[in-house]
Symmetry: C4
């Protein structure tokens, strides 16, 4: 692989160690990707079923815009993450995306379930009034609102991406005045977020996790 790819591997391995330690990527859950090229779209993504606390240099594969392995021989039998299609969808739909991170924290999980009663297909979690919102790119005041869509979970990635694509398509990504959209939740499952760089995506995870914990604990606090 070339240097960009080596950097991406090193960056994602560090993310895995950190996120496992912080309880956001336990077991073999979670998957991460970095955009290696845009034309044509090429992603470096975690291989399926790897322990995120100990990602090795070979625990990644390269996929194209449709999620197919670019170099099956080099993959040596490794498969891309089962949720590869969602990474491709996000990177394909949002022009500036350089990295996509997907995590499974306790607070994201319980908020996503509380926010989407059984049988409903989509809702959104509104977070407003917190200074920490400014950690999300493009938000300049605590009076802004982060509107995090919650989608019903599914094991059928095609069906699930279709539902998510519908929401993405409705957004005009070249309009600077559109409300910022930096992530979504899958109910009972976890968070997808992204950024122009891996560092920005990592910061968005950190900010969202803070906002989820604050939102959930605020609900638990009786008024004084």
């Amino acid at each position: 692989m070339h240097a960009a790819s080596d950097d991406a591997v090193a960056g994602l391995r560090a993310v895995g160690r950190e996120f496992h330690a912080r309880g956001w990527s336990l077991g073999t859950s979670s998957n991460y990707s970095v955009v290696l090229s845009r034309d044509p779209l090429e992603l470096l993504i975690t291989a399926s079923g790897k322990d995120k606390s100990a990602l090795g240099p070979d625990d990644f594969v390269r996929v194209d815009a449709s999620g197919q392995l670019i170099d099956p021989a080099a993959a040596g039998g490794r498969k891309s993450s089962a949720e590869t299609l969602l990474h491709c969808l996000i990177a394909g739909q949002i022009p500036a995306v350089g990295a996509v991170l997907h995590t499974h924290s306790v607070w994201a999980t319980i908020l996503s379930r509380a926010g989407l009663p059984k049988g409903e297909q989509v809702r959104s979690l509104q977070i407003t009034g917190y200074e920490m919102l400014k950690g999300l790119e493009g938000i300049a005041t605590h009076q802004s609102s982060a509107d995090v869509p919650i989608f019903a979970n599914s094991q059928d990635m095609t069906e699930l991406s279709d539902r998510i694509r519908a929401v993405f398509t409705a957004a005009n990504w070249s309009d600077d005045r559109r409300p910022p959209l930096h992530g979504f939740l899958l109910s009972g499952h976890g968070l997808y977020t992204w950024g122009r760089t891996l560092a920005e995506a990592r910061r968005h995870i950190e900010i969202f996790e803070f906002l989820f914990e604050v939102t959930a604990r605020q609900r638990m606090l009786p008024s004084a």
Copy 2:
């Protein structure tokens, strides 16, 4: 001892350090074992009363299918864990088991008490709807349900194993379509889980701990 045994010792010492740091094996609580051979059944198990944050190379003994020390001279006065019989029961009843881990976390403890009102002898905790369930071997969708039996605690290991054996015997372990059973709780006490390898058993602990925390916090969260 032979190489397999050395590997098992190294693996269990690492588990002890990690689980103590994560709050799952405080004080001298917890006990861990690895299956060294199947025919006849031989387990390497933590000796009684050891601090799990600092297990030494000699803090283990070998026992047979009935929990008796295999080489009392080599044990040098060390006794096997008081709960050895439960390890033998699990390894003896479930053909594929390669390691058994027993931990005492806060969330497992409070859920196990809430799930088993005083005087009752057995119940089960149903966990369903979480993507993280897929971290348990053989579960392929969040729509599966983990059914974790909760047994009343006891200091009489013979009486306790009899109650647990009754549940195990009812399961047909060679039937691939049986619902997965990867662990059980002792009320006010903790979790037993297992896996085909030590790595799998460790992952099951991590997944169960996540699911217990999520289940308990979900109950604590007022609806929005």
Copy 3:
């Protein structure tokens, strides 16, 4: 820069690493300053938009009493933190202040919101009865009360400092018998605290964080 400045940089970098690890300074939130001189007032303060977990030796600038860069050429394009005016206000109003620390923790955030209903401009959080209060300089008994003002958050630093100045001016800082005032909260935002030295300001953060967590959890605990 001179030696005092080098020490301040080293001290603030260590504070950033520690506070990020403890969850009090996530993303690019938080800002810290040390008083370099009093006559005229000169502060060393974190530059705007830096990741607090990895502050470099150049991630600081020097400002005067009005928050203006002292040596714009040396700053090399770096700007002082957006909240510089608040640091200047605190250091200017309170004679003994040697360091000012501003953090964003979960517990501070939820208590500050619960304590200041929408539309109100100022309130205070009363904390009394805890031995740990004695960790705040000048408090000698658990029967004292820490009275932490909560101000409505704002992105307009001039307007916000005016409101805070009104509270500060009312205090007679040369009167040893005045009730101790070591910090204030911005609603939905975080904590400002200070000390005669950086070590004392760091201890005040640690003590306040403990008191906030205890106060919030006490409210969540049903009476036995």
Copy 4:
């Protein structure tokens, strides 16, 4: 100092680092002692006002049974902890005590306040039904009960020790069948515990902290 004293210093410094990291000894709170000799009674105890995360080799003093410095010249101006009298009381009253540890955790603090309504002078927290109770010396079954006295806090150490002495005197320490007493709480303040060795006292802190967290969270969990 002699070798026993050097070992005690090393042991208490390690305890300080660990307990600060676990949130039990923040700021300059907490104090620890080890019994150096019994006849006459001599304690090595933390000096007053030291940061427990960074205890130096000189941050200790030696005191006699009445809490007086044994070698004021060697103390070089350091004073013994303000709560020295309580350490002397515990070591003097309980024959087997080799170490006394006092900590200030969040869970101990809120349980101690909830357990002692304002104006009352003494109560006790009953903890029963948890396997982890067996981590307290002399407890062999989860059906035992740990009975932790809660005393109203005071800044007057003489008055406070008198109240505690009354409870201690009522216990017959040479009767093996007396209910185990391994610690007490000061309301809104923290935990005192002890052990025959420093290792045992440290284990008792760890066990009590687990039991306090479990007790408090159990109260917070709605029944399923």
